[in-house]
């Protein structure tokens, strides 16, 4: 049981590349912290620095209040679950799980007892004498977990532990990990690139991009109050729609019409950092759209017409895709998001921005036909086009679900320890 503190940690490779830049994060005892971000954002590097598998170039790393920068992995009392499990192929499951205890010269009887206990928790009892090669992917994953928990370490480090499993098993193991972590109440840092995993699993989430911490907070906080375009686009699936806009007093000009800024958003804007003179980006989550015919009180939002290009029926809902004619939004953050989604090479629709709306299953919208859509103005997100930062402060209005900052450790709009998301202001391209 221990608290893990990153104090201004930087990882610099010999070629000068900085994988992690001035990283500040505080993981309190017993918390499940998720590090999430696109590949190459430095999240794994950060984790490996905690494990002691990477040297720390600058800053201090503390586990349980002790600086461990110079300590070897074996002296840090941490357990790690690797992406490819890293089970020892020449040992049985029992030997794999007891390896750490054996190295620590724990008496054999105690090793057996601890391994049996862990095997019971993980439902591995009947596989203890088998070799990893004879296990299924899910079983191997559980052995890797077992190897971590028999030691009762001060922290678990998990490096994308579920990414090698198939989708169904992944969901199952996700709840399993969550359950085990809560039962054992062991500080855990969990690295993933999957925002769904992050949202469902973590007590708190730290979003990283290009080695820089973007935002830390509870899942709902990141979802409702993303601090910049990157976080807004990364968290949530399908991701947030971005439209270029212009603020004119109480009016917001969007490609889908002019909207009056509601009081709740106004208050947030007033308490926000200011900016947006050179233009803003409006963010609307797909679920804030609706088929206008299903809305009884349209006054809370804005109604517009759009020609639906593609309609995906999910059963419980529809995903309606349409193109809004506009200049399009360009920002390095959004480009990186597109790249991460593998969409960077797709032909750009130069006529405008693609928008996805999530509509109720009762909707009568048809593909290739004009439809009347509505969106909730109260849930508008506004960002500065230059810096990509949000324009909304925490002057929470009554209509918007606002989460207080996690455990009151930092203000909602500011990442921990002042790791300024503006540290690397994206340039508009």
């Amino acid at each position: 049981m221990a608290e893990i503190e990153f104090d201004d940690i930087t990882k610099r490779y010999p070629d000068g590349f900085e994988a992690v830049k001035h990283f500040n994060l505080d993981v309190p005892d017993g918390e499940l912290m998720i590090l999430v971000g696109p590949s190459g954002c430095g999240k794994s590097t950060a984790l490996r620095m905690v494990a002691g598998l990477e040297d720390i170039s600058d800053g201090e790393l503390k586990i349980g209040g002790q600086v461990v920068n110079e300590k070897a992995p074996k002296d840090r009392d941490i357990a790690m679950v690797f992406q490819n499990y890293a089970l020892y192929p020449h040992m049985t499951v029992r030997e794999n799980m007891g390896f750490a205890l054996k190295l620590a010269k724990v008496p054999q009887a105690e090793i057996d007892q601890k391994v049996n206990e862990a095997a019971k928790i993980l439902d591995l009892e009947q596989h203890l004498e088998r070799k990893p090669a004879n296990l299924s992917g899910g079983q191997r994953q559980r052995v890797a977990m077992g190897r971590a928990i028999v030691r009762n370490p001060s922290a678990f480090l998990m490096d994308e532990p579920l990414s090698n499993l198939d989708a169904k098993l992944r969901v199952q193991m996700r709840t399993e990990i969550s359950r085990i972590q809560h039962d054992l109440h062991t500080t855990t840092i969990y690295v993933t690139h999957d925002q769904t995993e992050a949202m469902t699993l973590g007590d708190r989430i730290a979003v990283m991009r290009a080695g820089i911490l973007q935002q830390v907070g509870q899942p709902t906080e990141l979802y409702n109050n993303p601090t910049n375009l990157f976080v807004a686009g990364f968290i949530g699936s399908p991701s947030m729609n971005f439209l270029p806009g212009e603020l004119d007093g109480d009016q917001l000009h969007l490609p889908i019409g002019t909207v009056r800024i509601p009081d709740s958003v106004r208050r947030q804007l007033d308490s926000g950092p200011g900016g947006g003179r050179s233009g803003i980006v409006a963010g609307i989550r797909p679920e804030d759209f609706e088929d206008a015919s299903l809305i009884s009180d349209r006054s809370r939002g804005h109604t517009f017409r759009a020609k639906i290009d593609v309609l995906e029926a999910m059963g419980s809902e529809y995903f309606a895709y349409f193109v809004v004619e506009s200049e399009g939004v360009s920002s390095t953050e959004l480009e990186e998001l597109a790249q991460d989604a593998g969409a960077a090479d797709l032909p750009h629709s130069h006529e405008g921005s693609q928008v996805v709306a999530r509509l109720d299953a009762a909707s009568r919208v048809r593909e290739h036909e004009e439809a009347e859509l509505w969106f909730n103005v109260d849930h508008l997100h506004l960002f500065d086009v230059e810096s990509g930062r949000t324009l909304l402060g925490d002057g929470a209005g009554p209509d918007v679900a606002r989460q207080p900052a996690a455990a009151g450790q930092q203000p909602a709009s500011e990442p921990t320890g002042g790791a300024s998301p503006a540290g690397e202001a994206p340039t508009t391209g």
Binding site: A72, K74, N84, A86, L87, Y88, H90, F99
Partner: protein
């Protein structure tokens, strides 16, 4: 006959020819060792009188039994040292990124290419001056040196195939780097280590150039060198039967070893060639 069957039988014929061609000398040596000394040079392939007297003769010769002892001793020690050193070197080459890594590999390759015969003269003089002539270390040192490059190459291919995460997992589990190496890497590389061991042992076992030049008495003479000093019945007769019998005695174990481990040796030599 289908095209396929014709092709198969064609191949079979070709293989048969090659096998017979390469086995004839071995069979001939075996036959020679079973002839009496009088009929050794009678020109017949199959002996008229079968006898095992050549075998009993050579084991009565002190030269041969001493040489056998020297061969086994020197071979095993050289091999053990070479494999142990190569393990360390190959591990470093496979895992660490240090300056001069390419240079070390290049030097190792150069050593392997070095014609051994060109070193025999200088070594002979050097060994005589520092007292290593006709001693076990006098042979162990050159054997080990010439076996190292091959060992390093084979072993580093094996080590490279072992996922790095395993070692890191061991380190996080509380192992020192040395423990991680001994308890995780070495057990996984066992097939490679066995392969290397056999290859190196065969090289040492078969060597003639160093053995004949750097030894003179039964103190350090190995079998290949000892065979050439077998005494005939008289000064003018060559003891063909004894030589053949000794040759069979030292060849058979090696052949058995290779046959037993041939799959491992082949996979050992090609490890890392393609991503498995």
């Amino acid at each position: 006959m289908s095209h396929r069957a014709r092709e198969t039988s064609g191949w079979s014929l070709a293989i048969l020819v090659v096998v017979v061609f390469s086995l004839v000398p071995v069979v001939w040596i075996v036959m020679l060792s079973l002839k009496t000394s009088a009929s050794a040079t009678d020109g017949s392939f199959i002996p008229h009188h079968w006898t095992l007297s050549n075998y009993s003769d050579i084991f009565k010769l002190g030269t041969f039994t001493d040489a056998l002892r020297n061969s086994i001793g020197i071979g095993l020690i050289s091999t053990l040292l070479a494999v142990a050193l190569a393990c360390a070197a190959a591990y470093a080459i496979a895992r660490l990124d240090f300056p001069g890594k390419a240079a070390i590999l290049a030097v190792a390759l150069a050593v392997a290419m070095f014609p051994q015969i060109s070193l025999v003269g200088p070594l002979y003089n050097l060994w005589r001056q520092i007292g290593l002539y006709d001693t076990w270390p006098g042979l162990i040192i050159p054997y080990m040196t010439f076996a190292l490059p091959l060992s390093i190459y084979v072993l580093s291919a094996f080590f490279r195939e072992i996922p790095w995460e395993l070692e890191q997992a061991a380190q996080v589990d509380g192992a020192t780097p040395f423990q991680a190496f001994m308890k995780v890497i070495v057990p996984l590389a066992t097939p490679g280590i066995v392969t290397t061991f056999i290859l190196v042992f065969i090289i040492c076992w078969n060597d003639f150039v160093f053995a004949i030049s750097l030894t003179s008495t039964t103190a350090a003479q190995t079998v290949p060198a000892a065979i050439s000093t077998f005494p005939g019945v008289s000064q003018f007769t060559v003891p063909y039967g004894d030589i053949a019998a000794a040759a069979v005695v030292v060849t058979v174990p090696v052949m058995l070893l290779v046959l037993l481990f041939q799959r491992r040796i082949v996979s050992g030599l090609t490890a890392g060639a393609v991503k498995g």
